[in-house]
Symmetry: C2
Subunit: 317 residues, 2 copies
């Protein structure tokens, strides 16, 4: 076993990569712009050049055991990316192409599964065998761990809990083409949509009315709530309640020991956690009441994506 | 390894038990009345007497490898039954008591998990590693298999998909104390409730109006639908649609290769399957569209409970 892995997190905007040791120390990291390369082979060339530079300058040449990649829609079984609307390339065999270029084994999975692996290997889920990672970012992602293993499902694509239907009728339009998905309510975008709905429908005063309604962000709502704005707090109540009800529903599936929340919105503190826990407890099937914990990720935001991806590098074959 | 296991299915009314060989042949079976014994030690004495008689008369003395038991709320990890409202006894350490009495290892799980194990060992799920068993009986039960293993969750009680919330507002009251659970709509009782609602709210003629509304059963609805009764057919449309939408939601969790339907209602043929498949396809997240199969159990109804429980007997330690 060689001492390092390379973790690569491919996002729509940036690709972050880092050299990680077996204890989860990020030895060094760097990034390139994903969106700049509409041609994948140009992208791969640049990634190889920059990663090789990082590896050489950290005396890690020939010390990389494997590469783990987290990327939207990346399939653990096939190694492919298909239908990834946020990436500039057509469908492609990602693991194979990267492995051929770098000459080391590569494993890929989607970003939320990578986050779950990272949390289990280095973070808040160390020692847990049954947990569900919920990433509250622009959208809502999830990584499900049962019996110590990430759930990939029959086709490698399991764990899309952001697309659980939480509102069956008159639900919000989702990017997936369906309506009422969890992520249309409980993501950063969802919070901004709730703000716009509340401001349009209601008349009560709010600090948010000083802002351009079409460009309100979840950060704006957070800032207003922290200043005591009643309407902004209600937006968090609404968001937390829907998420708490959804976590109760997820519990009847796999009865996890804990839900681990990750991403910008998860740092809203009691504004989100109080209504979330109240709704979760109220909606919980009695045999599970009081059992699943809700805890926050322990991975440093800056390192989390790379760490998560790198955890997969150890299992690459 | 000894050649037989004893499978025991404990229901609220009857306890059925049988001697099963490694190929899933039920060598012999018998039953006692569960409800007759309010004292568990009397029940266990009678079960032991009758099962011993069956074992002796089939030349199986000292040939029983283990005992598997399926029972409401039975916990695979603890071996206990707790809060089983349909059974006449208080909470008790079922596996331990039965093992002490019979002198062989005993494993227990709930009835739907047992059904999933039976289907995987002897039935429609042979060769499948990722599937979800849905039992459509008086209530709705489920057994989830991921990567060839039944999902027991952190506490041994996972897989209660009958209590997924399918109607968030104004949902029907469920026996579990919550509202809007899947089983209030898609069980035999649920179909009867739908019939009563439709008959009260609507005015159109129906064969069902010839029956006493308070004692209508799902069988009555089926019989009327088979005779072409429009309202009865709509009741199946309503039921199948809700179930199909729920199966689509379950798919985002574990991306199963198949759903296996079991129990009386699953034998309603196209009356249920057509609306179910249409709704499932319509509600399915695009990456999973057309993937999960919906198939019917291949276990003989009479033997299924015993076979399911017996499958667990092989792993008892």
């Amino acid at each position: 076993m060689k001492p390092y892995v390379l973790g690569i997190d491919i996002g729509g905007t940036n690709t972050v990569f880092g050299i990680v040791d077996a204890r989860g120390n990020v030895i060094a990291s760097s990034s390139i712009k994903t969106g700049k390369y509409t041609n994948f082979s140009d992208y791969l060339e640049e990634l190889y050049t920059e990663a090789s530079r990082l590896i050489e300058s950290n005396d890690a040449t020939d010390k990389i055991q494997g590469i783990g990649i987290g990327a939207p829609n990346a399939n653990y079984y096939t190694g492919r990316i298909d239908n990834a609307v946020n990436l500039p390339w057509p469908d492609l065999p990602l693991a194979q192409l990267v492995s051929e270029k770098f000459g080391v084994p590569v494993a890929v999975t989607n970003d939320a599964n990578a986050a779950a692996l990272g949390e289990m290997t280095y973070g808040a889920a160390r020692g847990l065998k049954d947990f569900i990672m919920i990433t509250l970012g622009t959208g809502v992602g999830s990584g499900i761990v049962i019996n110590g293993q990430v759930v990939y499902g029959h086709d490698g694509l399991a764990g899309e809990l952001g697309h659980l239907t939480v509102k069956r009728n008159n639900g919000r339009q989702c990017n997936c083409g369906r309506t009422g998905c969890l992520e249309t309510y409980c993501s950063a975008n969802g919070v901004a949509r709730t703000a716009r709905e509340f401001l349009e429908i209601r008349q009560d005063p709010s600090l948010l009315r000083n802002l351009d309604i079409d460009s309100i962000t979840s950060k704006d709502v957070y800032d207003a709530a922290i200043q005591g704005d009643a309407l902004a707090k209600e937006i968090f109540d609404y968001t937390g309640t829907i998420l708490g009800e959804a976590l109760a529903d997820m519990t009847v599936f796999s009865s996890p020991e804990a839900f681990i929340l990750f991403g910008g919105l998860s740092k809203s503190g009691e504004l989100l956690m109080r209504p979330l826990k109240e709704a979760m407890d109220r909606s919980m099937l009695s045999i599970f009441k009081g059992k699943p914990k809700v805890i926050l990720s322990e991975l440093k935001e800056a390192d989390a994506a790379v760490l998560g991806a790198s955890a997969l590098g150890w299992e690459a074959k």
